[in-house]
Every structure is written in structure tokens, then in C-alpha cells.
Symmetry: C2
Subunit: 169 residues, 2 copies
Amino acid sequence: MPALVEATRSKATRLSDLEVESIEMFINFLRLLGWPKSVGEIYGLLFVSAGPLAMDEIMARTGMSLGAASQGLKLLREFGAVRTVYTPGARKDHYVASGELSRFATSYIEEELLPRMRTAQERIQRMERMMQSLPEYDRQLPAERMDRLKYWLGKGQKVVPWLVKFLKL
Amino acid sequence: MPALVEATRSKATRLSDLEVESIEMFINFLRLLGWPKSVGEIYGLLFVSAGPLAMDEIMARTGMSLGAASQGLKLLREFGAVRTVYTPGARKDHYVASGELSRFATSYIEEELLPRMRTAQERIQRMERMMQSLPEYDRQLPAERMDRLKYWLGKGQKVVPWLVKFLKL
DNA sequence: CGAATCTTTCAATAACAAATGAAAAATTCA
DNA sequence: TGAATTTTTCATTTGTTATTGAAAGATTCG
């Protein structure tokens, strides 16, 4: 039996109330950003962990599968929400939660919200061009709504960079 | 054959480029708030519509089912994103898109984000109490992370009401 | 009132997203 | 180098959410 799987079986200690509380909190928050439950589990566990944890420990404690642990950690690493720490004499990677919680919010804004706002901007331009060829009567209402949309998008574009700066500290 | 279904079949005119553009835009935006595609389709269509549309027209134009149209319109009505207008001599309800786009953002903040922040607040208090019983050494790191979380949550709680006010005009 | 029309509901189905775990790839150690 | 260990990948399975459409419910009109 491979060592990793063996460890997973034998080390399956129950989660403490503290860990459960933390995990639930992050599952809920990260779901808001469209992240799967497994990612919340990993981060929540690491958040209240006294020291770095290896992947097999995360698997054992949460009961999640190899693939979910690997992919979740990869994702969290990419977002800078988790990092590996050097552990002398250890072969496995060991992970700690980064304290930079704002990364979750800012990466959401930068990678989800802002791109969509840019796309919307382009769409609006195309739509206004298309509306030129509508008869005056058909143009009226949509044109008013477009104006409101542009106004609101402009607001968003003003507030978002400010918000990012504010969240980053 | 019921009149509604008959109408649905016969009126299935192709969507204009303008309508497609609008629909795609709103599908993308509303997905961000966790709303299903069908809702984006309805709102996007109404947004560029020159006049009120009845449910069967929405079904015919988008090709969506009776149930999806009914449920989507109900949802949009509840959020105040769509409203019915009086149409003399008409039996069917007729819908228009409300110009109040900020409703989407503010309802998301008020109904999704804020409740979770409140829950998090409670969890944090419980977690701090639980951490009392940890040995000093095990408490150190989690305690630091908790401080950062509290700091960040406090920031969020300050900025959100301000943001809501800003978006509401 | 009662027939016709319109709207909502909801059980069944389809579409989609997440989790699993075996196999491949990469890394480490002797 | 090569055996052991660790990590990643990805086809399959499982679970969740959205859509469908028939039936029930509500409304309108004569």
C-alpha cells in the first residue's frame, strides 16, 4: 500500500469544534465567490492550524479525496491564499494559510468583475451603433435604459479601483 | 390547443443582433450573482424591448419553457428588476424592465453578503472563546490570523453600507 | 356561473459542476 | 540510476442546480 494512502487511513482524527467552525465559515464565504466546498474546507482547516500541514494530513482530517486536495491546494496557491513552507527533513510539501484575506476579494474583483465590466462596455458601444438603425419610436425606451446602464457602469468603474485599494490596506 | 402554446409556436421570430447582445450581457452579469441563465435571457430581452412584453412573447422569442419564463419573471418581479404595466384591453400581464439596475447589486449585498458577514462575526466570537483552551503554543498562529480576519471583516462592515448608499444613487 | 385563458407549481429530466481514485508524471533519496 | 514517495491529471462517478411540461390553480370574460 502506498505510504500516502496508508497515512490517510490511519491519521483520520476527528475535527475539533474550532476547526469545524472555521471550515464552515470559509465554505460559506468562498461559495460566494463561486469556489467549491473542498477549497473552503482546506482553507478553513489551515486557517486555525497551529502549524503547516501536508496534503495527506489535510486529506485525513477532512476526509476529502486525493484529487480534491491536490486541486484545491493548487487553486489556493495560485490565488496566493496558501503557501508552502520549508520544513527541514520533510519530503512532502507543507502548507500554511496566508493571512492576506483581502486576496479573495481582490482576485474576485479583478478576475471576475472587472473583465465583465470591460466586456459590457464593448457591448454597449456595439448596441448603441445597432440602435441607430431602429425607428425613432422603437429606440426611445431602450435608449433611456442604455443611458442608465452607462451611468451605472461608469459608477462601478469609478468605485471598483477605489474599493480594491481600500481592501488591500 | 391552448392559445398560449399556439402563440408560442407561431410567433417564434429570430432574435435581433441587438437583443442577442443584450441577453448575453445580462446572462454574464447575473451569473456573477448566481442567477440562472433563463433569468438573464428574460431581463436582457426586456432591456432592449421597445415596449412591454407578455410571457408568451418572451417564451417565443427566447425559446424557453413555460415554467422557466414564469419562474424567472416571478424572481425578477420580487427583486424589483421587472414590473408589470397596465395594458388596456389585454388579458395577459405585460412586463417591462425596470431601469433600476442597482437593485441587482444592492440585493446581492443585502441578501447574500451582509448575512454572511453577520454569521462570520458570531463565529469569530465563538472561535475566540474556543481558542482560550488551547495551549499557548497552538494558539499563537491561529490567533494572529483571527486578528487579521477581524480587522478585515471590520473593514468590510464599514465599506458595505457606504457602497450600498453609493450604488443607490 | 362556467368556459376560456393565463399563470403557477412541481415532479421528472436534463445539464452542469464537483469529487473520486487510478494511472501518469514528477520529485526525492540512497 | 532506479526504487520509493509524492503530486498532478483526468476519465468516470456522484451530486447539485436549472429546465421542462403537464396538471392544478387563478383569473377574466360573456
